[in-house]
Amino acid sequence: MTPLIILAKAGVYFVMGLSLMAAVGVVTLPNIFRAALCLAGTLLGVAVLYIALQAEFIAVVQILLYVGAVMTLVIFAVMLTHRIGDQTIRQKNRQSVPAFVALLLFVGLVGSLLLKTPWSHAPLRANPIDTLALGRALLGEYVFPFEVVSVVLIAALIGSIVIARKD
């Protein structure tokens, strides 16, 4: 079965490369609408990686929430903000070089930490993660944090409406 595994790995690395390229596009493209589209591409790539890791439910929720809802909101905001959509905005200033050096240092630090940490491996599974078990855990064992998060979200929603109201 080795050729299949090689193909699958090649596919996963291909998707990783594409989403990284799209991520670079988000921070470098001068046109803000194109940058937003690149962000959608990155999020889609991450969703495909979730599918490759057999977390179908997480992948679908990622597409539904981030690509479907959040990206739509972002693009809507770009469109409603006057003149941003047409103009080309510079995405760098004089601090680019120091920022890049700091980024390299940060990546080196985090990378060395990641490599040193002894990660616990989950056993390889043949079946995708069960959505039923996820639902039961959310509404059984973790029902209290789940409800608290919902209350926080509702509070944020009401708060934003109160702030946005003019009168």
């Binding site: 589209l37 179908e56 679908v60 929720v61 479907g68 739509t72 693009i75 469109m79």
Partner: protein, 383 residues
């Protein structure tokens, strides 16, 4: 007959495994499924356009296409050749890359959702654990593609159409998903195949649409599905009497054909999903399972075209009001009714309670949404 296509695929696989090395069998199996969908989708679209033109013609007392081939059956092919040979016009000042990518990006989700539709017993490309959610999530990405097209055209009408599309699709997605919650509650799974299997029994007629909550949910889901496809009476994104052609004003040739292809394939898949969730999918007596699926799906597609021939277009405020002030509260009541249905064991009692609650809330919502009509018109400045 029932397993005709499944056996066909098996025979193809056996044939290919005798020629190719062992590890390619998985790949060939995937390729056969993809190939079948990639051929079936556009082919369905071609003949749905013919069917729609014939049907609308009949409704409007004329013949429809009848020159090319018998009954105009070759008309879609002639149209395809015309589309391919047309000049591809890109407006001055348009974002060329995004303008090109948008119609491609809209066809991909329209084709992807075919993969979770169970066309017949054992005839599903991928039986995903989260099939229904996959369908909703993938079709939600259509909004971005439509917005890409409308923005890249650099045309006021396109942009207006794109804005309208987003408002409409985002609004109608909420009642659409919520109306399917009772079905998921009843079948205990998100997989489309498991949902169809949960409707087995009663000689193939134990459909969810025959329960009070199922009937209400079916109507809501179907209406929202029609809105998601941008079809009349919900076609304000491309209302030709207001904004030329909406988001595809600046498209011509094959790019325009791709927009159309996505719309017609969405019609088919939404009708197919409605049939899967509420009308028992491929369940039915007598005929092979895939024939039942196609009968139900095409019947729902027929009703969509009938809508187009009959109903006038909604105004923007009416459209939003229908989704947020009528369908959404009704779905919430319906989720509650479905919960009661599974909680109360006695059949007459639960039948009475659920029908009563649904009728009551329907009447109440209709009363609440009643538009304000003044009894006597007062003309302040006329006299």
């Amino acid at each position: 007959m029932d397993q005709l296509f499944v056996n066909l695929k098996k025979a193809l696989l056996n044939f290919s495994s005798s020629l190719l090395p062992d590890w390619t069998v998985v790949l060939v199996s995937i390729l056969i499924s993809i190939g079948a969908i990639a051929v079936f989708g556009p082919f369905t679209m071609m003949y749905l356009t013919w069917f729609e033109r014939k049907l609308i013609g009949r409704i409007q007392n004329r013949f429809g296409p009848n020159r090319v081939g018998l009954f105009g059956l070759l008309q879609p092919i002639a149209d395809g050749i015309k589309m391919l040979t047309k000049e591809d016009i890109v407006p001055e000042g348009a974002d060329r890359v995004v303008h090109l990518l948008a119609p491609i990006a809209v066809v991909i989700p329209a084709l992807l959702v075919f993969s979770v539709l169970p066309f017949g017993r054992n005839m599903v490309a991928v039986d995903l654990n989260v099939g229904f959610l996959f369908f909703i999530a993938v079709s939600a990405t259509t909004t971005i593609a439509i917005f890409m097209g409308s923005w890249a055209s650099r045309n006021k009408f396109s942009l207006l159409g794109g804005m309208r599309t987003i408002a409409q699709l985002v609004s109608y997605e909420v009642p659409m998903v919520l109306s399917a919650v009772p079905v998921i509650l009843a079948s205990g799974s998100l997989s489309t195949v498991a949902i169809v299997e949960a409707q087995a029994g009663w000689n193939g007629f134990k459909w969810f649409a025959f329960t009070p909550w199922g009937f209400a949910a079916f109507l809501i889901f179907y209406l929202c599905g029609v809105a998601e496809c941008n079809r009349t009476p919900f076609d304000i994104p491309e209302a030709e009497s207001e904004i030329v052609a909406g988001f595809h004003t600046e498209y011509s040739g094959m790019k325009f054909a791709l927009w159309y292809m996505a719309e017609f394939m969405n019609m088919f898949t939404v009708a197919g999903l409605s049939a899967t969730l509420f009308l028992g999918g491929y369940q039915g007596p007598g005929f092979p399972s895939w024939i039942w699926f196609f009968i139900k799906t095409y019947a729902l597609v027929f009703v969509m075209m009938w809508f187009r021939g009959t109903l006038p277009r909604l105004r923007v405020d009416q459209l939003m009001g229908l989704a947020w002030k009528f369908l959404l509260p009704l779905t919430l009541v319906n989720v509650f009714v479905a919960g009661l249905w599974f909680f109360i064991p006695a059949l007459p009692l639960r039948l009475g309670i659920s029908i009563g609650l649904l009728m009551l809330s329907f009447a109440f919502l209709v009363w609440l949404n009643h538009p304000y009509v003044p009894e006597k018109r007062v003309y302040q400045f006329a006299e």
